[in-house]
Symmetry: D2
Subunit: 324 residues, 4 copies
Amino acid sequence: MIKATIAGGTGYTAGELLRILLNHPLVEIESVISATSVGMQVAEMHRDLLGETDLKFSDKIGNPDVIFLCLGHGLSRAFLEENDVTSTCKIIDLGNDFRNNLVFGNREFVFGLCELNRDKIRTTNSIANPGCFSTTIMLALLPLASMNKLFDDIHVHAITGSTGAGKRPVDTTHFSYRDNNISVYKPFSHQHLEEIAKTLTSAGSKDLPPINFVPMRGDFARGIFASVYTKWDNSMSESEVIDYYKEYYKDSPFVFVSDSPISLKEVVNTNKALIHIEFHNGYIHLTSITDNLVKGASGQAVQNMNLMFGLDETLGLKLKGSAF
Amino acid sequence: MIKATIAGGTGYTAGELLRILLNHPLVEIESVISATSVGMQVAEMHRDLLGETDLKFSDKIGNPDVIFLCLGHGLSRAFLEENDVTSTCKIIDLGNDFRNNLVFGNREFVFGLCELNRDKIRTTNSIANPGCFSTTIMLALLPLASMNKLFDDIHVHAITGSTGAGKRPVDTTHFSYRDNNISVYKPFSHQHLEEIAKTLTSAGSKDLPPINFVPMRGDFARGIFASVYTKWDNSMSESEVIDYYKEYYKDSPFVFVSDSPISLKEVVNTNKALIHIEFHNGYIHLTSITDNLVKGASGQAVQNMNLMFGLDETLGLKLKGSAF
Amino acid sequence: MIKATIAGGTGYTAGELLRILLNHPLVEIESVISATSVGMQVAEMHRDLLGETDLKFSDKIGNPDVIFLCLGHGLSRAFLEENDVTSTCKIIDLGNDFRNNLVFGNREFVFGLCELNRDKIRTTNSIANPGCFSTTIMLALLPLASMNKLFDDIHVHAITGSTGAGKRPVDTTHFSYRDNNISVYKPFSHQHLEEIAKTLTSAGSKDLPPINFVPMRGDFARGIFASVYTKWDNSMSESEVIDYYKEYYKDSPFVFVSDSPISLKEVVNTNKALIHIEFHNGYIHLTSITDNLVKGASGQAVQNMNLMFGLDETLGLKLKGSAF
Amino acid sequence: MIKATIAGGTGYTAGELLRILLNHPLVEIESVISATSVGMQVAEMHRDLLGETDLKFSDKIGNPDVIFLCLGHGLSRAFLEENDVTSTCKIIDLGNDFRNNLVFGNREFVFGLCELNRDKIRTTNSIANPGCFSTTIMLALLPLASMNKLFDDIHVHAITGSTGAGKRPVDTTHFSYRDNNISVYKPFSHQHLEEIAKTLTSAGSKDLPPINFVPMRGDFARGIFASVYTKWDNSMSESEVIDYYKEYYKDSPFVFVSDSPISLKEVVNTNKALIHIEFHNGYIHLTSITDNLVKGASGQAVQNMNLMFGLDETLGLKLKGSAF
């Protein structure tokens, strides 16, 4: 059994990680760390876990084989500086501390996009888990990047569920505000742009064009729907591109190309990503969907863990979608 | 023109009052008080008012003909003690400070349920505006109380929108929690029970039986749907009771008896209350709906103001429903 | 491997059954029957199954070990009359055809409430799977029935998600109608009342009092929240009753008593039921929650299948909740 | 009083028109036509109108001063061919029959975008009322078109409420499908593109560049949120453009430029449009919001009526927003 510790145990990604790991056949939870809730039942905080665990929050790391950092952006480095994580313990950081700066002490982090870096992930001991918007957008564009077919501005609108905004209640996550409402935030300047650009470049895109990214707040709790388009050079037909995508992702057990248009709930509560491709007016138009808490965070983290420990990538991740 | 001041100008009921009063043909806003936001544009806070007012928050009462207290429960008494409201200025308190304790200094408050106390409201200078749950439940039961037909336990489930919980974001108004969720709070012990019981008694119910009230948090923003039943003595047929209700409310311009079953959105964004009546298994079953911010708060406050100033009760209150 | 056929393969409960069975370690799907969609990919209809199955709809039963009837209420008898289901094939009917009339030819159906009839289920070859409202309400009341403590009217309000209304789009499932709306339907007369009454009686309740049941349409897709109360004789304290419930359900792996108040999303997308108990004003008040498509339908059907085949009751049913 | 007849009286836009006209101080309803519901109370169909009208559906046009055609797209021509509308009766068509083909018999329709064609509207007797997406997008772009500053591809994502899809229940308006879901439809090919292009051209845009428009289905009932951007030539600063927009719309009583970012509910249930402008990365980014049933349909129709009859443009249209 793999012994796993979760740091930052009270937040949304930690809760989702627990939901997944408690059913993972080869993992046992070593410790769920929360400095502020030591001694409290984990299921009192993540209340849907009632009946599934008797774990209590702790302030000890224990002696895990892997530690998941669910600390909030910018807090992972401090945690690693202040705590003694043994060099043999693998680290998977769900924050953004190492995504664009992959070194910490002796550790070299790998950007944990399984579909691009599967082999590197298998041999590293430190993972920077990709962001939720990033994952959804990168999966739509990776195959084009691999063919170096991104040559003109990339246009992205992506709408996210409220769980992406974290657990602390604020004005823009107030139900009275958000119910039946839509808004834009951080247009053209979202912090995920950097990791997206680096990843597409490393996937084969030379002289990556600008990515114009307008993130939107949706009035739902889970999921990201991205609509992406860019000019197409007509070097391949629509069906050839679709075939290329299917081939590109044929060994990726969670990424599928849909021949029909997609809607967000087709992936909610699963670790899947769906992509749909159409040609229009000289553009290639891609829609891409993920569950921000699963494939966009904790599910992908477990997928990375599986790879790091030499396990089947899908172990513990064959999740029943909610569909509705 | 009636000069109106609003104290507690940043909250939900103040915002709704502004939405109504800005279109009221005989009212001008004297001052919108907010100690914490002095000088800020009102439309920066209540953002849907952009283009409709240039008012700024103030810390002055001014010299109004009427002051609306939108201060949050328990803060109205303190406000009146600390501020100089002239004795000729009418007061309408939207909090619960005076509902069950109608005296303050020389002022005697009238419980502002127009459908019961219309005549008293016309001549008073101080109104305790009823609560939102209270209004919805009392309107369902008033005619039975008037006939003294409440003789066995009254059973009430009522589900409320999130705006009833106020503006400050907390865990139970977090969108991620509340979206697609249902819960119960304060079962059998909601603070509105006292004003409901007093009102039904004053309407004619002797030896009022217990009211078993289970409030529920709904995953919508506006409105209250109440389902109420109690044993029926079969002294009148269903259609006789329906006729009695229609007669009882025939001079109440906002309360209607629906011959068909009702759904909440039939009143949302209006000052109306709808009631539907069915007999089943020896019970009379009433469903009753209001918009908690309009008939359940600010609309009813304006209705009270209209009566206090000798105006047509409906002035400024013929609101287009949102319906969807 | 257990070979399973699903009749009525295009509806909501069939879709949910597929989501569960495709991940069940000991089941393989023999056939998914839909007369109207023969030859169509199952994942074209239940689109969240893309990438998880290549099954196509068929009009053949095949040679299954178990057949699930997901046909819509009133259609199961006709199906069995018109089709040849071998006598060795187990039947699990998700409709209401056999719940109150348990005989069909040589088969004697068992009412498939695992928590009450576990032993009978283990030895029968025919199951009438309980209704979704029924399950939620019965689980709240079973322990009281077992003590014969139901002596006064039982008061029930229960609010259901839209998936309970089935797949065919109608006025009351139109998004424009239902979004942010609440309504009551079939008050005091819902068709599940009969199976609830029979079950409570068979559980030990003598002279069962009337059950006053007001079903409500909620503006969410999944789940049922029931609020139930009845007079209490004070023979046991609140904590004694809670302990009795915990003991009663201690061998039921999906039913839990929550010490804190519950909210619907704590069980959505799981096979769990949660119950919370409080005493108020001489009443015992129970809240009870399930996912109508899982514990209220397809999950419970699989739980029954597991029992019928001598398997661990939880096999394939340790589902990650959606929580949000 | 202006006598108004509504043809196609059972649909969503007719209902909204009734909600507005019943409170309009200078309109009386002559007839509400529905071939299929003759004799039925209008308030039985548009149930929120209970208590506000005793009108019944009719199959007679009567003798109106204005007729509103709410017939569904493509049915207005046939209606005018089959029915005798006197030449002195003004026509306002809410369908799309005349938007791109403005002639019918002797009548020459004016495209009823008040902000562009105010003067022509004042003198015509026939109006083609703009579409909801069109209105929202055109208002964002009109000032740029007037300066001929549209020189590079225009990028539009706009997300609409379910009422835009009409009243007939279909799969994509089923609550179980749409709740918490997002999808794209008719990408790059929506039928409103033609009227948008014609209007921008007539407003002053020469050699209008392509408009790439991705419409999205939102999980809310009312409103359209459009996010629009296009390359900017830097001939004016951000604040100069904002000032130009404010000047451009200074005589348009329902269009406002917001200095802060906007969210959809700031206009829901009103006839307002809000626009917010930011410069990013060489692009001008505009967000624009309307209520699809009000400014995007029936409110704009009444605004046109007001202009056609020489009334104050805002008469009957100072609507309280729902805000939540």
